[in-house]
Symmetry: C2
Subunit: 248 residues, 2 copies
């Protein structure tokens, strides 16, 4: 995956880590073809035109179609740095349009000052996940320190018009599954902090259209819950958008 600025007239000059990977791991030579893509742009095919010392020159042809942004967004209370670090690539691989990180009563303040919330940390991890899943659409990440302001004033502009779900260990899966089966275009899934949302936060979410969705009675770690829930939502989503158009 290239940054849009990497490509000039279909030519890309790679240096550094990516060139080293091509030379040392893939052992490319002139003429070798590679699958490539532009971040938030189309896929393409690159032909190695020259390998010169530690530099690789590629000649690229890109398609015109840009993949659609994934139909699922995630609203996530900022988890422990170690957990978030593990999540970035997995979220990008599973496919999310937006990652909306929020404060909550049970989120420790110190989490906001960690490097895992800086683009210099998370952007390469997101790109790693996209490369794994063969997608070019990088999730849009926003960080919100005021939960109430986010839910009441900002959320509609970030993710509107779709279905809203909030993970709730106690909730039955049924409600949300029925709603999902109705075939909403976008889905926004909210996952709370390690200790859960407070009663006030849960009520504010429900007042703004979030329906509780359960994954059974087991309490899961935040990263496990995110991946399992995105799996369920993607599966249900794919099913309702399948050629049959009916839930099975």
């Amino acid at each position: 995956l290239f940054e849009p600025g990497d490509v000039a007239d279909g030519m890309v000059q790679l240096e550094g880590a990516r060139a080293a990977h091509l030379i040392d791991v893939l052992r490319v030579a002139a003429g070798r073809q590679l699958r490539v893509g532009i971040l938030d742009g189309p896929f393409g095919v690159a032909t190695v035109s020259a390998v010169d010392g530690r530099t690789v020159a590629l000649c690229c042809r890109f398609g015109t179609a840009v993949p659609a942004r994934p139909g699922v967004d995630l609203l996530l209370a900022v988890p422990r740095p170690k957990v978030l670090q593990r999540l970035w690539a997995q979220l990008a691989a599973l496919g999310v349009g937006r990652i909306i990180l929020t404060n909550a009563y049970r989120v420790e303040r110190s989490y906001f000052d960690t490097h895992v919330l800086t683009p210099v940390c998370y952007r390469p991890l997101l790109i790693e996940g996209l490369q794994q899943a063969r997608d070019t659409r990088i999730p849009i990440v926003t960080i919100h320190r005021r939960f109430k302001v986010l839910i009441e004033d900002e959320l509609d502009a970030l993710s509107s018009g779709g279905m809203r779900l909030v993970a709730d260990p106690g909730a039955p899966l049924r409600v949300a599954a029925q709603a999902l089966a109705a075939g909403n275009e976008r889905v926004l899934v909210a996952v709370g902090p390690e200790g859960g949302w407070t009663t006030y936060e849960q009520a504010l979410l429900e007042a703004h259209g979030f329906l509780p969705i359960g994954l059974g009675p087991r309490t899961l770690r935040v990263d496990t819950a995110c991946v399992a829930l995105l799996g369920v939502v993607h599966a249900q989503h794919a099913r309702t958008q399948s050629e049959e158009g009916v839930p099975v």
Copy 2:
């Protein structure tokens, strides 16, 4: 969670790391009540009877009911040690009855010699996951170096009578969802190695009743795929066993 041998006449003497956790993190004193459980046994309530130096004495009362073993088993081609290390606790938390680890053509031989396949490594991680999810039933782990022998001769004794699914990036979700909706009691889910099963392996699985199940067109890392797929299967399973008895 205690090992069955820890408890004598309802009394438990804790030393070492678990006593240190109670004393230094939870700061328990005599009279404090704690939720406890016996591995593969019932839940109970423990009352701290004494804290003596670095030893904690607990007086426990256990219920009579043992939680049911989770209705889902996992057949997994041995992944990279780093990936498996991350998976153990998550698998136990999501709930699996058995973890059947197998060789496959695209599994590196060296993976079998790593410490993540030894009980001394994985047992504490499984217990960590059970504690997270509040379950006592530890997954049964078996390791099989011969794929063909496992599938042809051993698998029926390990996991029989239920639905069998094999994760397949290219497969539609529909088929398996319909089969799951038929309400099978046990489900066995197979997840292949990083590079996928070979054609031979895939055919052998299908000949032994495994139906392909997809999670959409995205290629996922093995740990992400396991967690997402177990999420889907558990959700579908819970739904078909719900009071309505009809899939939604």
